[in-house]
Symmetry: none
Subunit: 210 residues, 4 copies
DNA sequence: TATGAATGAGAATTCATTCAT
DNA sequence: GATGAATGAATTCTCATTCAT
């Protein structure tokens, strides 16, 4: 791996991009290392010189691109904010912007999440668990829970909201794939906002009357 | 196909179970017919005596298990009910019971939905389209929408609720798989109920005060 | 085999016809016993009850239909004829008529001649050799060789003539197959006659002047 | 294909020979790539590293050996010759020499002509059409037809002669195979010459008297 | 460091033949 | 005699990985 990292940036990115697009397009098992080396314009042997096998390559690519996303995310998040919905809205906005900026990455990351290949599934799940705990912890640390309606807490709220927003986004992606049209990110923003409005109205005390 | 159907039940189920678990575990492309015949304890040739190819086998297994689910569902649903939350509660209950009875089925069915294999994707989508229209229509036909809070309608409500319940169930399954413990279905029921309570309180007019 | 022969004629012919058409259409190796039993409307097991394997079936069918042809042939040949060209003309005529009457048979027989499957090739060759010797002997026994030009004998003459006529017929069949049109048997007769005329003119003494 | 062509000659020939003999012996469909790799002493994967599939391999082998034949042929033919029998004699001689040098080639090429496998038949026919037109045209262009007897033309003559010579050669090969002795090429040359003498005497004007 | 030829296990599918009924 | 379910070796082709150069 140090071998790979001491490569000049241009070549490194050629390889990472090639792997990303192949894995995103065909999933782990179906992705062809032949295709990757062809696209990256390197030899077959070289790929296996840098990465000991397909699995290691996949996980490296995963960590690399997840890293990029997280960096973006934490750079932009205001860590002092205590209002739950402000945090959530900002998170959703960042995610949707990343989605727009790097559509391939998210496709790759979200399909990685569905991988069934043994050895891959476990590794991805391990990373996700850490990630969720970590980012939940970050978000929940300073939350002012006093504003929630009775019987509601920040975790429940986050769950409902993130499952709903994810559910909605997934459905739009599926629809787009089915109809073979590009995803309409503007609509995504607007609709996600409308779901957030709804939850703010219903999960915050006195929200109904506003 | 008649060949397969005139088999004695025990052998038929051995084959269906073997196929179900292999397809659920590895997806269509990666599933190995070798593995299926080994698990079903039949010869390689025999599988192709019953099903002309892997695709036909997959779709047969899909239709078979979807059939089982639907039968259960429509047998138990009261078709005259007009109260949204009663319908939803009943649906969730039925689904969770099916989940308990055939844990593999839902995994298989929901992963089938994501298949990319050409020829499979189209067939599954065709079936899903019919199914979704049919069952949504069934549920929504008689709904009394006057009880929802302002800005809410039955479709939005169904979406929020089903995404949330699904999100919750998925998470519990993931946790169980990660910790290598069996899924606690009782907890699942109780928690799902508590989410439904919450939504009833917040999405129905005057719900807050009850 | 006695088993097969003590079958009622109708069933026997159903089987023979089915085998003939499948072997003629696809050759020995590619012919499917499945197809044969389906066409003959008998069960798989029964075929192998009558014939111990595919090879035996093939050779039985071969002998059966060659037998039919030979019977026809010897029924019509005048055994006292001593004039070479009269014999040849009659032979060619009979052959072409048989060809017209049972096109499937000849296709089968002539393709059988080209079989490469081990065990089949040898058997067919053995039969052909016998057949050729036998019929050559028949034809040559009484030939009046005095009318041939110098340096020519009956065997050479027969060879040249039969190779030419065969070559011509083969070419027409190939052309027909290539252009996907039926063979024009009338043209075949006429052209074959014209080649025979030519040989009579050139291989018989004084032929040129007639 | 460049991959295959940049192989060292020894290995290339091992593969070509193995393929030639397997295809010649069993035909396209029945030929086993397993057998070819075994005979060529290469691994299974390697064959498909060079040729994308069996069909491409077959056609490559075909073109390769046809190429060898044609090269030999056109290198030796005197293009200015106008005398029909000189051309024919030279052609026959070349062919018989090729037959002696590469006994498998002609069997392979002539059997390729009879292939029924879809995708193969068409390709071979395409190549043959070009070839026949081209070589017939070459031979017939300059022929002096005035020397033929009445009612004879160059095409008829070529047909008779080539069918006869081919018929003769085939028969000798069959005999040799049947008796399991090597083909006697000297006898082949001599006899073919004697048939050509005969035809020259009988198809050329005044030939009889010489 | 870099190459790409070479490997061989494993994939889906076919089919003559057997055998319990 | 008659059935057709059952077998399993054989088919072509793919692909991650290795290794000599």
């Amino acid at each position: 791996m140090e071998k790979f990292e001491s490569l000049d940036q241009e070549k490194r990115e050629r390889i990472l991009n090639a792997a990303l697009s192949e894995f995103a397009a065909r999933g782990y098992e179906q992705a062809s290392t032949n295709e990757i080396v062809k696209q990256a314009e390197i030899s077959k042997g070289l790929l296996f010189h840098y990465f000991k096998n397909k699995k290691q390559l996949f996980l490296y690519v995963y960590d690399y691109y997840v890293g990029i996303c997280l960096e973006d995310y934490f750079k932009r998040m205001n860590r002092e904010e205590r209002d739950f919905f402000k945090i959530i809205r900002e998170s959703v906005a960042i995610k949707l912007e990343l989605l727009k900026k790097h559509p391939g990455i998210f496709k790759f990351i979200s399909e990685a999440y569905l991988e069934k290949a043994p050895g891959i599934k476990e590794e991805i799940e391990k990373r996700n668990l850490k990630l969720v705990e970590y980012s939940f912890a970050k978000i929940l640390k300073n939350i002012d829970e006093s504003r929630f309606i009775e019987g509601m807490d920040a975790i429940k709220a986050i769950n409902i909201i993130s499952w709903t927003v994810e559910g909605y986004v997934n459905e739009e992606f599926k629809k787009a794939r089915y109809l073979d049209i590009p995803v309409d990110y503007d609509k995504l923003f607007i609709q996600a906002e409308s779901y957030l409005d709804l939850f703010e109205r219903t999960l915050y005390k006195g929200g109904q009357t506003t």
